[in-house]
Amino acid sequence: MSTLVLAEHDNARLNPATLRAISAASALGAPIHILVAGEGCDAVAAEAASISGVEKVLVANGAALAHGLAEPLGELIVSVAEPYRHIAAAATSFGKNVLPRVAALLGVMQVSDISAVVSDTIFERPIYAGGAIQKVEATGEKIVLTVRAPAFEMAATGEATAPIETVAFTPSSPARTRFVGKERAAGKGPDLASARIVVSGGRALGSAENFEALLTPLAETLGAAIGASRAAVDAGYAPNDWQVGQTGKVVQPDLYIAIGISGAIQHLAGMKNARVIVAIDKDPDAAIFGVADYGLVADIFEAVPELTKALS
């Protein structure tokens, strides 16, 4: 039996998290089909067809699918689920929203946020904000997975040309959920989830102005994405989708620089697998130093401008 991966996209481009979900799917050992559901999403289907390891692309086009709403998507996936043993998506806000519905409608448990594929039925996943790793075996006939994207490499694109097949879909009942709008967070730099370097600020920044004045020049100098702790987001220093952690984004960059972040377990859950971690904090006992490769005990208002200068 094959594996179905749900593509994430904005009707124009594939989200790179999907390429990581494809890698996880490859580890299952079965042929991979990818489902592109949207409206006017042919360009995405073509992009999906070029992913190495993808055997077939299914495309469903329609107004009901335009905004990635969970209800029609869940229904669509269940309607095509029959030949698949595994159904997977990246554990982004999109994948987390849709896949549990599919699992419930199929009567199986979802294995959430897998960080490793041990076999085609056994997976590892973090629990308790990464305080423990659980190894679980899925016993159902069908296995629904969301994939902790940063834990897997990106599948290559470009060479392959998988066949594209159209799937007809009409929702069984009129929509009782309507899309009203989307407000995009203004982000100039690279995408936080996939950036090679992340510079993150915490409560210590003290204001939105300081956050911007200290972190933006450093991030620009390094070509880094900007992240934040929950305290910084709650205080309004940074937009919500910059939050790194248990309940925000999980990042695994080559370099993570934590600035004025104490290192609560909920924050560590989102960044402790970065290759190199730098922490700058004035409290030598801050927990963040427990995971940092390089710790600098200093006042951020002095150290960060100095760092930016030294790097530019």
């Binding site: 519905r101 419930a104 075996e137 899309f179 190199v276 790097l311």
Partner: protein, 249 residues
């Protein structure tokens, strides 16, 4: 309008988790347990809707052991009107929780279910979506703003890349994100009053749902520790080491 709020009893967010040395699970003995933080937020939202005159009844539900009574008493102290405890001593997976909640939804006929987006023990983030699918009600997960008017609820959701707004016909299922509100502390008089509020107990087995787990937990282990790092003395030292030792810049 009636609102149902499922609340889970979990290890307190401020307590460090300890993995049992034999790999059989995490050690919860004698540790502080609390209401799942997202469920406090969900409950706060329900209570605010009641205070605003939108809702008339807030019912808190927990599925778990007898000790989950404490969690429900906290819910009553925060402002829930009544509580239901579905008693079971075994761990219940999200799908079974959703199925039990679906039975209660049928029985209680709420107009809205507001729950947490994620239980911070298993970090599953599934139950609200599953309940919505099982009962066929619209869903809005990761809510940071909820506005009810007549038969429609407008929800702002925290999603990757920004905020999304959806309009749902009632009845509906909503899951709460961190920034929906800041939950109140229950005042002492309200804690006292909560002791007299109704708390119904039902044996899970009476609800006719198979609770057999579908995921077999083979092992629970501590995460790999990072190798110890070093302290740098100055910004210059840091830059030097990032360039020559770590080679990341």
């Amino acid at each position: 309008m009636k609102i149902l709020v499922p609340v889970k009893r979990v290890l307190d967010a401020n307590v460090a988790v300890r993995v049992k040395p034999d790999g059989s699970g995490v050690d919860l003995a004698n540790l502080k347990m609390s209401m799942n933080p997202f469920d406090e937020i969900a409950l706060e939202e329900a209570v605010r809707l009641k205070e605003a005159g939108v809702a008339s009844d807030v019912v808190a539900v927990s599925i778990g052991p007898a000790q989950a009574q404490d969690t429900l008493r906290s819910a009553l102290a925060m402002g829930a009107d009544t509580a239901i405890l579905v008693l079971t001593d075994q761990p219940v997976e999200p799908l079974a929780v959703a199925r039990l909640l679906a039975v209660l939804v049928e029985r209680e006929a709420p107009d809205l279910v507001i729950m947490g987006k994620q239980a911070i023990d298993d970090d599953s983030n599934q139950t609200a979506q599953m309940l919505s699918a099982l009962v066929g009600w619209p869903q809005a997960t990761f809510a940071s703003k909820v506005e009810v008017s007549e038969a429609v609820v407008t929800v702002t959701r925290e999603v990757d890349g920004g905020l999304e707004t959806l309009e749902l016909d009632l009845p509906a299922v909503i899951s709460a994100d961190l920034r929906l509100n800041t939950p109140r502390y229950a005042s002492l008089p309200n804690v006292m009053k909560a002791k007299k509020k109704p708390l119904e107990q039902i044996e899970a087995s009476e609800l006719g749902i198979d609770l057999t787990p579908l995921l077999k937990i083979l092992e629970t282990r501590a995460p790999e520790a990072r190798k110890p790092g070093s302290t740098v003395e100055s910004v210059a030292d840091l830059v030097e080491r990032l360039k020559t030792e770590a080679r990341v810049i």
